[in-house]
Amino acid sequence: MKRIVALLLVLLLAVPMTAACGSKNAEEITLTVFAAASMTETLNEIKTMYETAHPNVKIVYNFDSSGTLKDQIEKGAECDLFISAGQKQMNQLDITASKEVNPDGLDFVLDGTRVNLLENRVTLCVAEGNDAGIDSFDTLARKLKEGGVLLAMGNSDVPVGQYTQKIFQYYGLDEDALRKSGVLTYGSNVKEVTTQVKEGVVNCGVIYCTDAFSAGLTITDYATKEMCGQVIYPAAVMKESKHPDEAKAFLDYLFADEAMAVFMKVGFAPVQ
Amino acid sequence: MSLSVDIEKTYGTFHLKAAFTVTDGVTGILGASGSGKSLTLKCIAGIERPDRGRIVLDGVTLFDSEAHIDLPPQKRRVGYLFQSYALFPNMTVKQNVLCGLHAVKDKAEKAHIYGETVRMLGLERLEAHMPHQLSGGEQQRVALARILVNRPKLLLLDEPFSALDPSLRVRLCVEMREILKGYGGPSVLVTHDRDEAYMLCSEIATADAGRISAPRDTESLFARPKTAAEAALVGIKTVLPATFADSAHISVPALRVTLETIGPVHEDLCAVGIRADGFAETADGFSATVADVLPTPDGRLVLLRPCGGEGLLYWDAPAPWTLPVGGTVTLGVRPSAVLPLYQDD
């Protein structure tokens, strides 16, 4: 009796595995889109819209920090379309970019498909009930020097982390010194930072305004162009893509009014 | 000092029922493997718990299912010599024995008792040894030393010689007699070997499929076993169903004869036991065919099948033996070798 029960339990585990390898419709193609974590909610909404209009296309996303995604592409991960939260990661894959920004000479971007898709804004958000009196980037800069606060930021591989570093430079703060004094805590992608602010385990975090909207966080301060420059999200079809036309079609759709509306709802802006 | 036991315990299909009293001296429990003897000891020691009953040692109630008394083994003052001796393998002989003296606070007294016991059991050379370096006999002496320094009120010995060489048994029995005499308190010795039981125990209880009888005087048990189970335990191999003929005769259907015995025979007779040395060839008796001849160091054991019915006869036959298997022989039985056996109640 015990053996029958054990066998049934094992078979039960096998069911989800077989379901996952479902049958593939001959016509159906799957588009793999690597996108920055900050686009999670918006792109998911757009996927539903696109798949309804194009039933033969199935979209699969990989959301993570742009640095991680670039690494994965470089190592041969299957990707049709890449949307990065910063020019740096796209440059590193674009053969037409200068040797400075693409030192390894990688050639993954399909010629002529690279465009600037969206603009985002870097913001400062504080944890509810645990904000240590931080009400602006100015105050933050001061409190960081004094110590006794904890700021969550992306690490230097994450675009929003790179922007935060620029903000440090703007205020003349030495990141190494801040690290030593224990006021900084690093997340591997922007969602991690957002979660830490939302859960209140840090005093504040530097994230995009889109992440703040999606997480329902109140934005305390916006970073200016002087502090960290413009935040542009480039997108491109990958050379290794097996469905370049469908990828291009989806990319074009992202510029359409209905897709842009979704983006703008959370604080993205089309690139001027 | 006396121990009174009246317990029952059920283990699946096995049912233990033991009711007996033990006074000073060595009482044996003689029985085959699985007959419940070790289980009884474990219940007395507190290692196993009976389903119901009472165990009282020297006026102290160790267990009483009605009164919800169940003393932990630590408080029972019962010494238990395990078949495997259970020496603590991470301690030397000296440390093992000193474990038995943990309750003695006075250092001088502790050293005195320790020294005395070590001398009594001849352990002087072995004090620094580890248990795995000792022979079986030495381990047993160490285990005994550990128990004796603990001054138990009752000593339980679980098949003490079964793990030792048979050739040493006699000498070990003699040593054990001395040790038990030196101990002076009541002991219960459990064994399946009738020779050990006979040599060491003044009274013996028999164990048969979970039923432990009241102890009987050793000599009278061996001379006149009363039931088929007792007969088997004391070494009577030939046991046949039988009925009452008269106060000096037993009717044995399988042999188609009536055997004479030393009375008195009671009416509720149900079987007869015949000692292996009680057969002899006669002119008129019952006939039996030879089924097998087993050589033994002292002669031979002949297995015979009675021509009149079912059963096996075991005969310690004298030399020379000439009959082959299948041959027929006419036999009679000496009355002193015929034992009336009754139902177990």
């Binding site: 690490n155 991690e192 385990v201 | 580890m130 285990a143």
Partner: protein, 222 residues
């Protein structure tokens, strides 16, 4: 040179191992005596952190100890915080290492010859004496193996630790989270340095354990 990750990892692993040692052997000892059904259920529950991915374990710990959740909120009122502090590292390490100690100890105790305990009881020795001076020495090999496994697991903990305490240099960074961050920010030399440190620690620990095992000469089966 910031040596904090080394010091932090060692103290988390050491403290976690000590806690896991006591919890593990006590759980193994008492649970073995429970009735069969209860014992089976507890076995499953207590072994879960071993079979769950560390990120799942981390998520569950956050659900319990996060400041916005009941237990975490209560604990912060009395000044105890597990999230984003090195105490959380100890908590995560303890949770993931516990099943290793528990199951190894269970196995070791089950191989223990109970007649030794019975014999000790009839001699009047207390249960505590029997546990620490007879049972534990007898099961020494297994217990030692359990401690090594637990320490190794605690030292190498990444997933649950990362989720629970993040990466705060100087406060919560461990060797494993540091290696990840250094790799992610393209500091290969730095990452390799910490990898070698970790290898060195593991080698030293295993060597020490090996020496401890060999000194133990007596055989158990008498």
């Amino acid at each position: 040179m910031d040596w904090f990750p080394l010091w932090n990892s060692l103290r988390i692993a050491a403290i976690g191992s000590v806690i896991v040692f006591f919890l593990g052997i006590l759980a193994a000892y008492y649970i073995a005596r429970l009735p069969r059904v209860l014992k089976g259920v507890l076995d499953v529950v207590l072994t879960l952190p071993l079979v769950l991915p560390p990120t799942v374990v981390g998520y569950c710990l956050l659900l319990i100890f996060g400041p916005k959740h009941p237990v975490g909120a209560f604990l912060s009122t009395i000044g105890i915080r597990f999230v984003m502090t090195w105490y959380g590292g100890v908590l995560a390490a303890t949770v993931v290492a516990f099943p290793l100690m528990y199951r190894t100890a269970r196995g070791a105790f089950e191989s223990f010859d109970e007649t030794l305990a019975y014999s000790a009881k009839t001699l009047g020795l207390s249960n505590t004496f029997i546990f620490w001076r007879i049972r534990m020495p007898y099961c020494r090999q297994g217990i030692l193996a359990g401690i090594v496994l637990a320490f190794a697991r605690a030292l190498g903990e990444y997933g649950a630790t990362s989720m629970l305490i993040g990466y705060t240099p100087g406060r919560t960074a461990t060797i494993s989270t540091t290696v990840y961050q250094l790799w992610r920010t393209d500091d290969d030399a730095g990452a390799l340095f910490w990898v070698l440190i970790n290898l060195a620690i593991s080698a030293i620990v295993l060597l020490a354990v090996n020496l401890l095992e060999r000194r133990n000469g007596w055989r158990k089966r008498v």
